[in-house]
Symmetry: C2
């Protein structure tokens, strides 16, 4: 049976006819900008699946610097995805074979200050207020953000696919070695409480489709339930041949704003009034 939920997605996936006119919401070629190879983390899982993370050095420089050092030290290799809590988070980076914590490599700060509340306003497309922020929007460089109504503070927002830094109770106790990704209905209550270091731009389903466990906190009790992480590498450290390249769709242009407006008032549906900042599609594509 065909259903309306399915149709828009199939249409989206259909190839654009050669002669089709551009819509005001379609990106122009120049709207696509390169993600630097040293801001792309490629995580390879047992079984061969890969998860690609775009890092956010402009927003969490200390934690991202840690992550570069961790990747180069191959610290994550042979760790695992050890927690999948339904409607909440998937978490990885533990050392499954050790009861003890795995020592951090040289050059990795154990307690960088938290980086989840940034001075200044964001620039890009404004989406509106919501229960968690006086303003929300998408930055020019394509990050979902919240901000104070007075424009003096801003922060990256926890959406599906966001990569955050797990930590102990104190805000400065996450190094970036242990990471989580929200996979459920809402994780916005983590905004301004956890440092966001990036977002999954490809392969998020490899994480969200993992089996749930009834164990407390979603932490697999049996080692065999965990998904081994084979390797985590910066794209810039991979051989030039076969290295992945990605682009993001920039938001500081009227095409992006038109797409958001269309999303708020979809054709053939009751107009929504507004939209959740996490429900704005942040385009990415592979570069040639």
């Amino acid at each position: 049976m065909i259903d309306a939920l399915l149709l828009p997605l199939l249409l989206q996936a259909a190839p654009v006819a050669a002669a089709a006119a551009l819509l005001p919401s379609d990106p122009l070629p120049g709207d696509w900008r390169a993600i630097p190879d040293d801001e792309l983390l490629v995580m390879t899982l047992a079984g061969g699946g890969t998860v690609t993370i775009r890092l956010a050095p402009a927003y969490a420089p200390r934690h991202v610097a840690n992550m570069l050092a961790l990747a180069r030290a191959r610290w994550w290799d042979a760790t695992s995805i050890y927690r999948v809590q339904d409607n909440w988070v998937v978490q990885w980076g533990g050392a499954p074979t050790d009861a003890e914590e795995k020592p951090l490599p040289a050059g990795v700060a154990k307690s960088p200050v938290a980086e989840y509340d940034l001075p200044g306003a964001f620039h890009g497309v404004s989406i509106g207020a919501d229960p968690y922020a006086g303003r929300t929007g998408i930055t020019a460089d394509s990050w979902a953000v919240g901000g104070s109504a007075d424009g003096r503070r801003a922060w990256l927002a926890h959406c599906y696919g966001t990569v955050g830094v797990a930590r102990d109770a104190a805000p400065d106790t996450g190094s970036g070695a242990e990471l989580f990704m929200p996979l459920g209905g809402s994780a916005r209550r983590l905004d301004r409480n956890y440092t966001i270091v990036g977002r999954v731009i490809d392969g998020a389903g490899q994480l969200s489709g993992l089996p749930r466990t009834a164990a407390p906190g979603g932490v697999y009790l049996i080692a065999a339930e965990r998904t081994p992480i084979v390797s985590v590498r910066l794209a810039s450290d991979l051989p030039a041949v076969g290295r992945p390249h990605w682009q993001y769709r920039s938001a500081d242009n009227p095409r992006f704003a038109a797409m958001v407006a269309l999303r708020q008032s979809p054709k053939g549906m009751v107009a929504l009034g507004g939209i959740d900042v996490c429900d704005v599609p942040l385009g990415v594509r592979r570069a040639q």
Copy 2:
């Protein structure tokens, strides 16, 4: 490593000490109310997992009446979960062995009028406005709802675990035979566009943990990828011995309001300001 994301959940799961004083946010015994057995749908999947759905006859009477007839006719038996689109929906009720549509049993209306925009205000706990509704809240009988600011319209909200009626383009083309459950970051844009017939109160992870597919719209291309549905039964049609009984936590009491307030300002965290209506935990428990 212990992390703060994990701790509250572990504490939640810990048994309450016998001598512990009740907090203002703790439910009293009378706050728990029975869900009638004929408002509980038990779906058994291949492999033995079960998914329990609380039906919403007060909000979508025509579609729920259809579903009772479908369950009694065993219409869903040997259908399947045939769609799992990452960060969007899981969908079931198709007839995997037929290219044709499976005929509906006698007594099932093919085109009931849509039931997603209801006259009147809701009563319960008010949560506040959000991008999709002038008001939101939890009804006394524990449903997440949106409503117009003037209190003249209300509707059930699409949250993680909500069960909705898939349909063709026209609003009255869903019978309740094909159903979907949102599993991703936000499905609120479906509010006032799709009829909600219930919500999963147990076993949602059996659906959200299914493998994703890269196929268009998340529809498995290979029959073997689908998860067979063994049976779908009303609890009231199951043998009395072993029949499941469930209760919901009512929201028309100060304990529930205190719990929401606590959720908005969690201990040890930056206060959130507000909360998304889909992020309010709707308590359920098995009755003795």
